[in-house]
């Protein structure tokens, strides 16, 4: 495996303006203002954090996996990656990453796809797209901004390792993350973040053990210095 780039952040947890733990199986929806930094911490290791981003002022303009990977000519997301939207805006930039590699091709698990991937009897097991829908519908009801199934597009899986081979294979490999590893992004626009902390119990990549993650947000007092 090629060397991964490890970049730490100078920001301290005690200076954060927001600090919350998201349990596995929960969703999290929050606005991040331009210039703010958001960090996701893999508290216990190899947890998949399924994440979507939207332009906070126009949810139709949202994270685009294909535009993001094509722009950087690389399928893995890490420090320096610009998250590109469907309208080709830069939503956020990854400014720190102690894991080194994040996936955006594996998508989010759903009760439906679990039937195909594992067994038809797995239908009622909790899945990310249940959380995404709950989060989107709750946010819509609270704010009056429409957000629903049409908006659940290809997501990022922070801390997940989904290698593609030169012969065109794709696998879910053992995680490259570990307890305490984190990824940090700077918002280049006002953005909406929607997270499903993955509840998957069928995939060995999280050792069949979904675990909590922490989200921290800082104001951009040290704006653009990293």
């Amino acid at each position: 495996m090629p060397e991964t780039l490890i970049q730490t952040s100078p920001r301290l947890p005690e200076d954060a303006i927001f600090n919350a733990v998201i349990d596995a199986g929960d969703s999290f929806v929050h606005e991040i203002r331009k210039g703010q930094f958001v960090r996701i911490v893999d508290l216990e290791g190899n947890q998949a954090v399924d994440t979507l981003f939207y332009n906070a002022h126009n949810y139709a303009d949202r994270y685009s996996a294909q535009d993001t990977i094509r722009e950087q000519s690389n399928i893995y997301l890490t420090t320096g990656t610009k998250l590109i939207s469907t309208e080709r805006n830069v939503l956020l930039t990854i400014v720190a990453d102690t894991c080194g590699r994040h996936d955006t091709l594996g998508g989010a698990c759903s009760t439906e796809s679990n039937m195909v991937r594992y067994a038809i009897e797995k239908r009622s097991m909790h899945a990310c797209r249940q959380s995404f829908l709950k989060g989107a519908l709750t946010w819509s009801a609270k704010t009056g901004h429409e957000l629903d199934k049409r908006d659940l597009t290809a997501n990022i899986n922070f801390f997940m390792n989904v290698p593609v081979t030169p012969s065109g294979g794709l696998t879910f490999a053992d995680g490259v993350s570990d307890a305490g590893k984190y990824v940090e992004l700077r918002a280049e626009m006002d953005t909406l973040i929607v997270i499903s902390n993955c509840p998957q119990l069928n995939n060995p990549c999280n050792a069949y053990n979904p675990t909590p993650v922490r989200v921290l947000i800082w104001n951009g007092t040290q704006e653009f210095d990293v």
Binding site: M1, P2, Y59, A60, D61, S64, A65, Q66, D67, I69, R70, S73, N74, I75, Y76, T86, E87, R88, R101, L105, G106, G107, A108, S110, E112, S113, M115, V116, R117, A119, I120, R129, K149, R150, D151, L152, T153, A154, N155, V162, P163, V164, T165, P166, G168, G169, L170, T171, F172
Partner: protein, 245 residues
């Protein structure tokens, strides 16, 4: 001038038409019919998105498609999964071995940067068009928009991924006469766009036409190549068949 290939019309052919280069096309492909796309020139590209025509909120989900089948390329045996774990279309025949699910589609800024501006007023049918606008215009004809856009496939193109994750467009991949056949397992709104692949390094704006052949085909049997491609696909076919019960 393009070299025209003559395609033999089989008894099952419903109709055939040519799609010019840089053009967008759509059709509700009925369950039990198939669409064969045949390249007329070398180095063609056909971008494609797929929606359930009976419920547009259900649409192609490429991450589900790739991870269910453990693939980062599309060829004979592969199927296109919707977000509801049903099979919209399956690839029953392919002369090429690799169609790209990763590269996405071109936009106006990319086309202008690569090929320069060329308006319709100046260039008429040779004006510079891009795939994103083509998809959005065609989606709008069905009351759909940017929120309904999804990751697209690029037929006839190949993007290889190296061990370090780097993406490499492979030039000279497809030849005139190469073809792919998509069998509809559901009533599927198919939207095609024949603009160049966004990673195509050629500095020349090229309009490559393809032939579209619509066919009546038999339902997939127990020995079907797509059903037996992987155990996941057998379950995908079961779920799709249940949708029509």
């Amino acid at each position: 001038m393009c070299r025209r290939k003559t395609t033999r019309l089989s008894s099952s052919t419903l109709w055939e038409e040519n799609l010019p280069g840089s053009a967008t096309w759509s059709h509700v492909l009925k369950r039990g019919t198939a669409l064969r796309i045949t390249a007329i020139e070398d180095n063609s590209n056909v971008g494609a998105i797929f929606l359930n025509a009976d419920n547009f909120s259900e649409r192609l989900n490429l991450p589900d498609t790739l991870k269910a089948q453990h693939i980062a390329r599309l060829t004979t045996g592969s199927v296109l999964y919707s977000d509801m774990a049903r099979i919209l279309c399956s690839i029953t025949d392919d002369t090429l071995g690799w169609h790209d699910p990763l590269g996405g589609c071109s936009d106006a800024a990319l086309v202008t940067k690569k090929y320069g501006d060329s308006t319709y007023q100046q260039a008429r049918n040779h004006w510079h068009q891009n795939a994103l606008d083509g998809f959005l215009i065609e989606l709008a004809k069905y009351g759909l928009g940017l929120r309904d856009l999804m990751m697209n496939v690029n037929f006839f193109s190949k993007v290889e991924v190296h061990e370090d994750g780097s993406m490499h467009f492979i030039p000279n991949h497809s030849k005139a006469g190469d073809a792919i056949e998509l069998r509809a397992e559901m009533n599927t709104l198919v939207i095609l766009n024949s603009c160049q692949h966004p990673m195509d390094p050629s500095p020349k704006y090229a309009q490559k036409p393809v032939t579209l052949t619509l066919k009546q085909v038999e339902a997939p049997g127990p020995d079907d190549v797509c059903r037996n491609f992987r155990p996941e696909n057998a379950r995908g076919f079961t779920l799709t068949e249940r949708y029509f019960l």
